[in-house]
Symmetry: C2
Subunit: 199 residues, 2 copies
């Protein structure tokens, strides 16, 4: 509908996840109106990310070096590995300041419908890391959905015979939420995982 | 939270309208994972838009030439001008295929709270176009909200003494909608603007 370059930009923006045709149009007109310096900054950020960011050789997290910030940190425990699906999960867990071990980023979850099998995830790399015998505990922190649960079940079956301590993040009521608005599965899990309060 | 380039990109994406921190993160990781060619295409589209797209000398619509596609089209009537707020409104009206005249893009609407007065809009340029006497009708197609109504009222007061036919787009029930879900102002306007059905 628009002339050349405007339509091209709307099309490209519309390919981004979560950006529909209306948002793409809105962003395109915003960029048309702003100072060229702002667009330059966005262009530079895009170019830099593709040129400089890679995946950590050890854990699969994003990094600009050969290994990521967590893997480079000598103060982090090397006996516990927390397995997550994506680099953004590393950031989410880091925010809690609850975990001081290392990570392993799978790069997704088992999803037969989308054609993602165990071989498409960084599971071989995880086993290589565990082979040294230094790691004694693995925390499975995949998403609490069908794909994440399937992935954790698959990994647990593989890791338990190796004599490792394997755990899964607790399911239950989100803190600050309302009990009446919790879905039945979550509420069921909260019952299942209830903790005894000692006198 | 992320290392250098990833965080920079998330920050830049987060500055776009309608893109929150979560969406910015999602888009950044999407771009990290895709083929560099796709990011190159987006970068090119951004660069091209700033380099090649400008505003039509006559009507203020976006274009890559001196004048826009509508202004260049010799088959379009030069006696009717449809006044809109933004270039995207031109596209919306073009889609209806109801209008065969020319446009005038104001570049916004009168909005005292945001500090936008009549002098910030392309009203002087509209008066210059009307001065030739060729235009006999002006259709006010600003948005049906407070700012759009104020702008149309302002323009109507200015244009009517010039002997022009001035009209405003009809307000009423959206086609395909439910009467019970229409807000009272829209429903009131639909009553006010009711059309007699002849036997």
């Amino acid at each position: 509908m628009y002339e050349g370059a405007v339509q091209d930009l709307i099309d490209e923006l519309g390919r981004l996840p979560g950006v529909g045709p209306k948002s793409a149009q809105r962003i395109a007109f915003h960029l048309l109106a702003v100072d060229p310096v702002e667009v330059r900054r966005l262009v530079d950020a895009l170019t830099e990310v593709k040129a400089r960011v890679r995946f950590c050789d050890v854990c699969g997290n994003v990094t600009q070096e050969e290994t990521c910030r967590v893997c480079r940190d000598p103060r982090r425990s090397t006996t516990v590995i927390c397995v997550v699906e994506e680099p953004k999960d590393v950031v989410a867990i880091e925010r809690t300041r609850e975990f001081r071990g290392k990570y392993h980023v799978l790069g997704g979850a088992i999803n037969p419908i989308a054609g993602v099998g165990p071989d498409d995830l960084r599971i071989k790399e995880l086993l290589t890391r565990l082979a040294s015998g230094e790691v004694t505990e693995v925390i499975l922190a995949t998403d609490p959905n069908v794909e994440g649960e399937a992935t954790s079940t698959y990994l647990a079956r593989m890791l338990l015979p190796m004599g490792l301590t394997v755990s899964r993040l607790a399911s239950g009521l989100p803190v600050g939420g309302d009990l009446e608005y919790a879905d039945e599965v979550t509420l069921g899990r909260a019952f299942e995982g209830r903790r005894r309060i000692n006198a």
